[in-house]
Symmetry: C2
């Protein structure tokens, strides 16, 4: 065990792995503490993942929702940022092994999040991309806008219908937001842009395995959300499982009914699994993992027998509050990161820290123009007021790091014009009939994964 | 020959190849004319190329300087946009051959622009990327910011110096703008972001083969620009030729002096050559090409013997005004596009059109914060007033298509904070020591190339 006392010289070394909400809030909280902080991430920026669906649907640019980690932390003189990947950890020697060498720690905070999970159907990865990274979002954007272009050129009515069918798998907040945004694109933004095809003929299907969308929310909000989606033109299919995705056909099972849906664009918003650091921690410390690979933590977010190793954010399975583990959402990660940062400072002063408690400030999800649902616990509402609440909360958290005034202007502009200026098809070669290239390989082990509702 | 008369039914068909400044201004001008317009481009957006260097250096996002072509032209009910590539043309049958089939025309306007030119050293393409497309700009951005990250990790002082050396080849407007922006990054924006490396030790070298930067401008402005660059910290080497780029060494020749400069980042802003449509036109119509493959046009921008085929913008070599052909800049392309659109309408009404004349409204180039040079012909100036002129002109042209209010806000923000929020390293895998992947292959034959000063 390390010597955690305020007399220790040189300063106590805190190593944080992952610059998502959990890791970044821990780093910020430690910015003025008498410790040495090292933040390690594979990417040079923090990504505001809750708005990633707006990049995927052409409203915002990646840089609008990203902030360079060095910029955010440049004033914290006790903090260095390493752009590197963690390969392994050695809890006995207290080092983290990177591609570029070993980094010793006194306290280790792991916040590497989760990635997509295809429930054993990894072959769906190429045909149904998920939404976790900037590259994922640009790939979704490319597919969505390329599909309309392909439909415009298609002469076979069946194939055209398949190009105009968008299937979103998973009715959590990301799925709901994607479905709503694509509906707005098809029925409003793009309606005058094409000459051969009527984009209003597009079908947007939202598939959810449970019996309602937004399953973690109150049932009345799920009903509100489903109503708003339907009004927007989204076909919501609940209690519907995807059994196969192959050759541009999505096969679904609703009770006994099997359906084959021809669709060229399938987007994955269904499942997550822990990043590979979970497995590393389990092997090296004997910590237990849950069904999706998250690390089961103590009431203070540390690992059993390793009180100087903490896991925060989506990678953390915290089951000491309520009847379910805490959800994988940004507010949980932020609070966990801050908590551990305070605990580390308390320990240096020999002050005990009570167990972590999550303060749930509520849940929100946006469906579309003027439509959202908000559950603040003591009150639930939907409609334009919920939408304004959603906007306010997201702007508030966005500007916390890096005054993203631009996003506000962009949203105001988009709101009044219903325009989406960021609908560029970039990256891969231009789509020509049927020629959608497979996406870049999605890394399932990266340190940049940050919490998001799925 | 087509029957160009106002009695012709169905309407006269105008096909425009390329959605850069030349093609787009032609299309806009024809939006209310009694003709059928087809605009063909490989990309789904118009790119405001004069600001592409701001994407490459992390100030703006691609979508800030791009506008979806369908969006720009959606109100022109006589206009359709085809996302496709031109393979060939048949001037006798009056058709354009696309990947997706043939398109007949009565009038053809070709505006496919130019691409990089490595003067016979195509092996430099991978080590010294140019700046013509959004992908090029993101690749430059990735290299520039990855270089600082690699320097931060590098322990060998010689290698670190190579990571901190940025060589820009070509002292035209793009080269000057890139050098100035990288100097601002190194000496201002990033100066507090790193812990091991002092970004102010960066060397930014601007190499120009002629005896001054901005060779097309008045000599006193070249001198002003060189002074401003030097003040910003850029090392300007004029009368300097690049003879080799290999193994992270740039070999230069200044008179008899040979120098070997270790540099990990080399950016190409030196030469252009015509897109492949030039060669196609020459083969099919017998038109003559100049030394870099541009098509030599008649005084009305048409081809000899083919009065219904026009070439506008950078691809056009117009030598009927002044002692040199018109330069490859956006204003020339805009005026040529508009001219041809008016000529087509005049012909339908049997009204003769005088030969094309370019109205030169002046030249401008920006060097950095508060520093630019402006030559309006009757007056030349530099400094903050020139910089404000530059901002005004660019905002004016940007908002013409697609009120890019966001760019104004972003610039205002960047100006006061000296921040650059778009400094994301995206796309290829994360840089790990030495592991900069080669860029995506640059297509030299695309229809999306639009005019820009180089």
């Amino acid at each position: 065990m390390s010597n955690i006392s305020s007399e220790s010289l040189p300063p106590h070394r805190v190593v944080i792995v992952g610059g998502g909400f959990g890791g970044l809030y821990a780093a910020k909280e430690l910015g003025r503490a008498p410790v040495d902080v090292t933040l390690i991430d594979k990417r040079n920026f923090h990504l505001f993942q809750p708005l990633l669906y707006q990049v995927a649907t052409g409203s915002l640019s990646p840089a609008d929702i990203s902030s360079p980690l060095r910029g955010i932390l440049s004033r914290n003189k006790n903090t260095r940022v390493l752009l590197d990947e963690v390969i392994d950890i050695d809890p006995e020697r207290q080092t983290v092994q990177l591609n570029g060498g070993d980094v010793p720690y006194d306290t280790l905070i792991v916040a590497t999040g989760v990635s997509h999970h295809y429930f054993g159907n990894d072959q769906w990865r190429d045909v149904a991309p998920g939404l976790k990274t900037v590259e994922d979002a640009l790939e979704m954007r490319r597919r969505i806008f390329s599909a309309f272009e392909a439909a415009e050129k298609e002469t076979d009515p069946e194939k055209r219908k398949a190009w105009l069918t968008f299937v979103i798998v998973g009715g959590g907040p990301t799925g709901v937001e994607l479905a709503g945004a694509i509906a707005e694109l098809a029925f409003h933004t793009l309606k005058n842009d094409f000459r051969h095809v009527n984009t209003a003929e597009a079908r947007i299907l939202l598939l959810e395995g449970l019996d309602r969308v937004l399953p973690p929310y109150a049932p009345e909000l799920s009903a509100e959300a489903q109503g708003a989606l339907t009004k927007l033109g989204v076909t919501v299919c609940t209690s519907t499982l995807v059994t196969n995705i192959e050759d541009d056909i999505v096969t679904t099972k609703q009770g006994d009914r099997i359906e084959h849906i021809p669709a060229k664009t399938v987007l994955w918003a269904a499942g997550v699994k822990a990043s590979s650091m979970g497995k590393v921690l389990a092997e090296r410390t004997g910590a237990s993992l849950d069904r999706v690979g998250r690390v089961i933590v103590e009431p203070d977010l540390s690992l059993p027998n390793y009180p100087n190793i903490f896991v925060v954010g989506d990678l953390s399975h915290f089951a000491h509050q309520g009847d379910k583990p805490l959800p994988g959402v940004a507010p949980v990660a932020m609070q966990e990161g801050k908590y551990v940062a305070k605990l580390v400072q308390n320990r240096l002063r020999n002050i005990p820290t009570p167990a972590f408690t999550y303060r749930d400030k509520g849940s929100l999800a946006v469906i579309g123009h003027n439509a959202a649902v908000v559950d603040l616990g003591f009150v639930k509402f939907s409609g334009i007021l919920a939408w304004l609440t959603w906007i306010f909360v997201h702007i508030y958290y966005l500007i916390e790091f890096d005054n993203k005034l631009v996003v506000m202007v962009q949203w105001a502009w988009n709101y009044f014009t219903r325009n989406r200026g960021a609908r560029l098809i970039t990256g891969e070669d231009l789509l020509l009939e049927g020629a959608i290239a497979p996406p870049q390989e999605t890394t399932t082990t990266s340190a940049e994964k940050t919490p998001v509702n799925v």
